[in-house]
């Protein structure tokens, strides 16, 4: 039952040009750093990336944008990235912006085997254009489809050889949802342990959703907004 692969290069080897991939993380928190680096190295092109954000100019998904490997981004918020904005305004990059909760629910629906969800987010706005609206109990909801994605790439704190995952603090964010949604799910973890070392009660993502796992290295964990207070 071992899902273990050697490293990021091996894990992403069959991600082909034109693939649709999900990348976990919120801002730069909990992003699969090793796999992003490997994708840049592999040079895979025309990717459709589903991710809450698009990284910054020189880190995260920003690295894939810089090398022009991304054809389309599906995200909820893409500020903080000048190269992204340039490609968007010049028409080189396709972008679909969707509400953050809708993004999460569409991942969840996929992993739960449900074709659609109904959400009030975006009713009456440009997000609703072309979408079915249904009224339940006096309130309007938009019908949104579950994502159909070739690969999901997530980052966890700890994992075991069966692919069970545990996330740390707010680096959890979209990771467990995307892990459930991939036809092939790749997990990179800070610490990879033998099956049996993780408490089954503490698992966030059961290994059934994970196809490949490896222990990542050299995590930079860059901080976007370093905010501190002086004293206690």
């Amino acid at each position: 039952m071992s899902k273990v692969v050697k490293n990021a290069e091996e894990a992403i080897l069959d991600i082909h040009d034109g693939a649709t991939i999900m990348l976990g993380g919120f801002g730069l928190c909990g992003i699969p750093e090793n796999c992003i680096t490997a994708l840049v190295k592999q040079g895979t092109k025309n990717l459709t990336c589903i991710s809450n954000n698009a990284g910054v100019d020189d880190f995260g998904i920003g690295l894939l944008l810089k090398t022009r490997q991304v054809k389309k981004m599906i995200s909820s918020y893409v500020g903080e990235n000048a190269e992204f904005e340039r490609q968007l305004l010049s028409g080189e990059l396709e972008v679909e912006l969707i509400p953050q909760g809708t993004l999460a629910a569409r991942c969840m629906a996929s992993g739960y085997g449900m074709p659609v969800i109904y959400t009030p987010a975006g009713v009456g706005t440009e997000v609703a254009i072309g979408k079915e609206v249904r009224n339940f109990n006096g309130k309007d909801y938009l019908m949104e489809y579950a994502f159909d994605t070739d690969f999901a790439i997530v980052k966890a704190w700890k994992g075991d050889t069966h692919g069970n995952l545990i996330f740390k603090a707010t680096s959890r964010n979209f990771n467990p949802l995307m892990a459930m949604a991939g036809k092939i799910t790749i997990a990179e973890v800070e610490e990879l342990l033998p099956a049996g070392e993780l408490d089954p009660d503490q698992i966030h993502t059961p290994g059934i959703y994970v196809h490949r796992i490896f222990q990542g290295e050299n995590y930079e964990k860059r901080i976007e907004q370093r905010t501190i207070r002086k004293t206690n």
Partner: protein, 218 residues
């Protein structure tokens, strides 16, 4: 006229003991600094945290622990972490008692625009559309007049809207308003501001409450 801090301070007086509260980026974030004594609230951060604490000291910075504004933060006693689906699940299900948001425009029927300026700012809506579509109580904290001197309180939003008919109250440098079927209803004035000045700076329908209080600050 109220400062940004005073806008936050006034909104903080709307907090009630036991509230779960989501604070947006900008002035709303400052509300956390003015939680009244004896009132216990739990702050929700939509990236997956209930029980958001203050910024960390230098030696407690954790890259895995940020808020929805991507700032490093801390937890408090009783905090919990969860994924983004559950985070917006609790928002959609109406579990969050109060949401405080910034806005570019508000209309007199409670529509809000705060996510896009066509051709200029196309960063995305983040969680704003989910929040405004589901929150039971939304208070907008904003400057009433833009840099060009135009009112941001309109009869109809000109910018792409984030949500319809959802705003309950607006607090600006001029005062506090409730959204009513008759339009913006001025209920409280900022110190030193006259009703005439308010009238000049509201572009939508405006009604004046029978008794308009003047706000006081310590």
């Amino acid at each position: 006229m109220l400062t940004k801090e005073q806008i936050a301070q006034r909104i903080a007086r709307e907090l009630q003991n036991g509230y779960y509260v989501n604070l947006g980026i900008g002035i709303p974030t400052l509300v956390a600094n003015y939680i009244p004594e004896g009132v216990e609230v739990v702050l929700q951060s939509e990236n997956g945290l209930l029980g958001m604490g203050p910024f960390p000291t230098e030696d407690h910075i954790d890259a895995d622990l940020i808020n929805a504004g991507k700032q490093t933060i801390t937890t408090v006693a009783g905090s919990s972490f969860f994924d983004s689906a559950m985070s917006f699940g609790m928002i959609r299900a109406g579990k969050v008692d109060l949401t405080v948001l910034g806005a570019m425009e508000v209309s007199d029927n409670g529509d809000i625009a705060n996510w896009k300026i066509p051709g200029k700012m196309v960063k995305g809506m983040g969680g704003a559309m989910d929040l405004v579509a589901s929150a039971k109580n939304i208070i907008v904290a904003m400057q009433q007049v833009n840099k060009a001197g135009q009112s941001k309180m309109l009869s109809k939003c000109e910018l792409p809207i984030t949500g319809i008919g959802c705003v309950k109250k607006v607090v600006t440098e001029f005062g506090m308003y409730e959204i009513t079927p008759e339009g913006f209803k001025l209920t409280e004035l900022a110190p030193g501001v006259t009703i005439d000045e308010v009238k000049k700076n509201v572009a939508g329908r405006l009604v004046i409450a029978r008794e308009v209080k003047e706000m006081t600050f310590n």
